[in-house]
Symmetry: C2
Subunit: 483 residues, 2 copies
Amino acid sequence: MSTPTSASAAFPTMTDFVAACRDAIGAAHVLTDANDTAAYLTDWRGRYTGAACAVLRPGTSHEVAALVRLAVAHRVPLVPQGGNTGLAGGATPDASGKQAVVSLGRLNRVREIDTHNNTITVEAGVVLAEVQTRARDAGRLFPLSLAAEGSCTIGGNLATNAGGTAVLRYGNARELCLGLEVVTPQGEIWDGLRGLRKDNTGYDLRDLYVGAEGTLGIITAAVMKLHPLPAARVTALAGLASPHAALDFFALAGRYAGPLLTGFELMSDFCLRLVGKRFPQLRYPFDASHAQIVLLELSDSESEEHARGLFERMTEEALESGLVEDAVVAENLAQSRAFWDLREHIPLAQAEEGLNIKHDIAVPISRIATFIEETDAAIAASVPGARMVTFGHLGDGNLHYNVQAPEGGDPKAFLSQYQETLNRIVYDSVHKHHGSLSAEHGLGQLKVGAAAHYKSPVELALMRAVKSALDPLGLMNPGKVLG
Amino acid sequence: MSTPTSASAAFPTMTDFVAACRDAIGAAHVLTDANDTAAYLTDWRGRYTGAACAVLRPGTSHEVAALVRLAVAHRVPLVPQGGNTGLAGGATPDASGKQAVVSLGRLNRVREIDTHNNTITVEAGVVLAEVQTRARDAGRLFPLSLAAEGSCTIGGNLATNAGGTAVLRYGNARELCLGLEVVTPQGEIWDGLRGLRKDNTGYDLRDLYVGAEGTLGIITAAVMKLHPLPAARVTALAGLASPHAALDFFALAGRYAGPLLTGFELMSDFCLRLVGKRFPQLRYPFDASHAQIVLLELSDSESEEHARGLFERMTEEALESGLVEDAVVAENLAQSRAFWDLREHIPLAQAEEGLNIKHDIAVPISRIATFIEETDAAIAASVPGARMVTFGHLGDGNLHYNVQAPEGGDPKAFLSQYQETLNRIVYDSVHKHHGSLSAEHGLGQLKVGAAAHYKSPVELALMRAVKSALDPLGLMNPGKVLG
């Protein structure tokens, strides 16, 4: 692993490139000093550290385009970066020092809010929480919500097609995006900033760039959908005997609440025990133990009372039929918040407990219970003592199927001994159930090899054809998505 | 225009191709007799008639793949066709007789319904109404709904990214599709039949094929989303003074009903007068005239009473504030149906009134009122006596902005004199308002020229790069989408 420092001195052509970049966007926005660049060269989890000939901080789409044209002229590969909160190393340069990071943080203007069209037009570097706030100030909801929302940017959210806690009702970042502005690998600006719900005039370039992790061009702005602000959000918890029961309860909840159901999260008993162990103020929410706990959220356009009434009728049927063992509806906003706290403290409790292995996977919702049973059994047979931390967005078929080292063991030794075996068991099982080995985090550099292993040759060939057609020089975030 | 007959005799290489196709899928499924092929060679509106060396009717995805490989070997261009109900000539071959039609009608199996995953897996040739029925039988809603649903197929719906009457809540065909099976222009099968809500493992090939009108490959099967079946659907009509008032009413309705609002259709007074003239049994729904009439639909997961209560509170506020001049909530299913009948008889009344010019356009919802005002004025200034038939899915920003010849005039003469002028005025105005010249019908061959005129060179170059990369021989539906 190389030291995070400027490599421009080592490569004469880099020196010319960096000088030209200074002319194009101003010397103050071209970082080469190791102290200045360090934060851009290591990923959020600290798994990857790279080097760069420069970190470029353009202030407008036209400056991004100018930088791309310089990169083409000097054949310098570019690594676009938003809030640098990705979990798969997609925004970290390689160790060669020949790449340049393009940080979009200065493209941070909200260009327009259109309440009649229910859209907000934002530049790539606007922080997600800022988009939420601006929408709320205009009496609208921007539903994308995830743990890193205080520092991740909308450009990064789109490049990785971020998911989060509201996908069940509102979709991923992809479904929230109506239009894009993109700087192509040739340094031209594609103005696809349309705020239209319907447009059937050719190929869907927008969705090609969304989720491409900067390998096909650099997203510089987007038109995002807004929704009416719900009058109330109310949560409930239910204790169940098994993931199978959770599936049946999900179908029942859909029948009662339809599109008002905005959250359906599954957490195993062990997850909440771990939270209780590490954060004793967050107590187990039921008197008795339940193998699985579900958190439900309703977003109601009428009132809190209406939502609570719905919950009460729904849980009454579920309790009477024996589907649910126990249930509690939040009495107020503070209690709703407390229920979500349990859910959100699971990864934090995992970190406190020590190094662990994360799998961000998806399977068809109907396969979730079987997937957990089969994969748990396979892991128990091959990895003695492994503790499964299984939780996630059941309503989206998305599980965080994580593995903690055995109680009292050495997590580091455990990881180095079993990481490969565990990944193979989990991904084989995901593959068998027609699932995805990266539900919401993307491939980055972390999962490029796994994706190449499990995807069909036809699909890989199609992806390569698209990549070569749009980025024939291969300068856009090389080594990510496709190896 | 050539006669719709077999051209295989005229081109020796065609003869070999057709013979090879007979071997591959059986002679009974290779049509060359003019009587057999005629129905496949003229589009639904009767605007385009082409010729073909054969109409091929494969029965499985593997047979489709085999035919594509033969087409590659013999360099025969292929025109995929579903129910042949498209409105832009996208499924009609050219006049050369060198193309072959691939009709997907025999791929008509429902492969799987998964109620826990809320998905249905269907082959391309399944008729839309059949998908709706099968979903309903399983206690689920498949919301895609449009006039041609009794004969159009899901493959065609996806190839054209069909819209229809439920887009406001459920999205276009694109948003209802989770996965695809596609035969590539190389004759390989891409198995992307995933039933996942989240999958971030590479480029979004699915959305590239959706809306590509068969120019990048042939869709042979799809996994489509299902939704919980609403407990009740209730409609209401409101009379308003202007499109501006309709926009404010739309915002108010969103606040009251949130995602329960599944329809918000605008119809001008003239539309309903025309319906009344041609279908006297369908009377004007209010005692007094209103410049604009809005049809609203709620899909409620609770009950009819609940929906009606919502409507009553909503219209009360709108009436009190003067936003709405009059309103009526349907008393029962029959009356809801009658309200929709008014809306659905507008195109029929137009046809009765005589030849007319249709524009299927979209603009940002916030621009609708201004678009109508400005464009109406421009047309009045240039085309004396033109009668505007303006209606559509206001909630999607999608207008059917149609033009009827002057009262008592000769429609044919009117069309030939003014069609070009009218298209230019309308599309210039759409372009000015950042809209789309084909909201839900696609480009086909009808709008290829207009799209090329209004799209930016950057966007056209990107589309061409994708087309060349995936279909380097240019055998997939040539002349459609891109000229």
